[in-house]
């Protein structure tokens, strides 16, 4: 597998950060 090609693929490396932010935000709103 060419690492060069892999490097060009668009992947979401920061999903966990936004998932956490979303969860905390809506948990707070829920209260």
């Amino acid at each position: 597998m060419s690492l060069e090609i892999l490097a060009q693929e668009k992947v979401w490396l920061e999903k966990a950060k936004y998932a956490d932010a979303e969860r905390l935000y809506y948990e707070k709103m829920s209260k």
């Binding site: 979401w12 920061e14 999903k15 950060k17 936004y18 932010a21 979303e22 969860r23 905390l24 935000y25 809506y26 948990e27 709103m29 829920s30 209260k31």
Partner: protein, 215 residues
């Protein structure tokens, strides 16, 4: 199509997909009024049914359990929403994937910092804005000659993509930004003003001034 109970917090654009689909299909889907996000989804009863503890989550009247908003929307849909021909069914899948894999990441990366829900990183936000421009350009060209994304009537493609764009149109995409994307705007406005959609999301308020990160 199934009937049952949807567990979700309010204003969850993922949950909207299933609720809007149910409006069109006539499926009887009720949101659990007692659900408290952060509490209910951590208790043992809930986790027995939905081990991941995530929402939206769906329990049918026959005690069938589902998570993942696309699956729930699919389950409560009728055949028309899923696409009328084999190719259209695949196109519906294409747009559902596009919404999750392309639109949502860009949306979160722009909207959440702007709402001060996530840390602000200038490069990340700038990249997200460029990604959103690319998305809008693509959709604008695609919708030049179309009323709906797939076929001649609303499908899960329109519902999924529109729901994935809600936060963008509501919080960060100001009139100046959206002005060039005439076809997307027309299509989106058509969707969010459908009576069955209004029943779920209420009257949609467009962004006037783009939200900005506030420490």
């Amino acid at each position: 199509m199934a009937s049952g109970t949807l567990y979700t917090y309010s204003n969850n654009s993922r949950a909207y997909k299933a609720l809007i689909a149910a409006q069109y299909s006539g499926a009887d889907v009720k949101v659990d009024p007692a659900f408290e996000f952060g509490v209910t989804n951590k208790d043992e009863t809930f986790l027995k049914k939905f081990p991941l503890g995530k929402v939206p989550a769906f329990e049918s009247n026959k005690k069938e359990y589902l998570t993942e908003s696309n699956a729930i929307a699919y389950f409560v849909s009728n055949e028309q929403l899923k696409g009328s021909t084999p190719y259209e069914k695949a196109l519906v899948q294409q747009f559902i994937s596009y919404a999750d894999n392309e639109i949502l990441p860009a949306s979160h990366a722009w909207v959440y910092p702007s709402l001060s829900v996530a840390q602000f990183n200038k490069l990340s936000v700038e990249r997200a804005i460029e990604d959103v421009k690319g998305i809008f350009t693509y959709l604008n060209n695609y919708l030049l000659t179309r009323t709906y994304l797939v076929g001649e009537r609303i499908t899960l493609a329109d519902i999924s993509v529109a729901c994935s764009l809600l936060q963008l149109y509501q919080h960060v995409i100001n009139p100046e930004f959206r002005q060039p994307y005439v076809n997307v705007n027309r299509w989106f406005d058509t969707i969010v003003n459908q009576p069955k959609v209004v029943k779920v999301i209420g009257k949609f308020e467009y962004c006037v001034k783009s939200a900005e990160f506030n420490q």
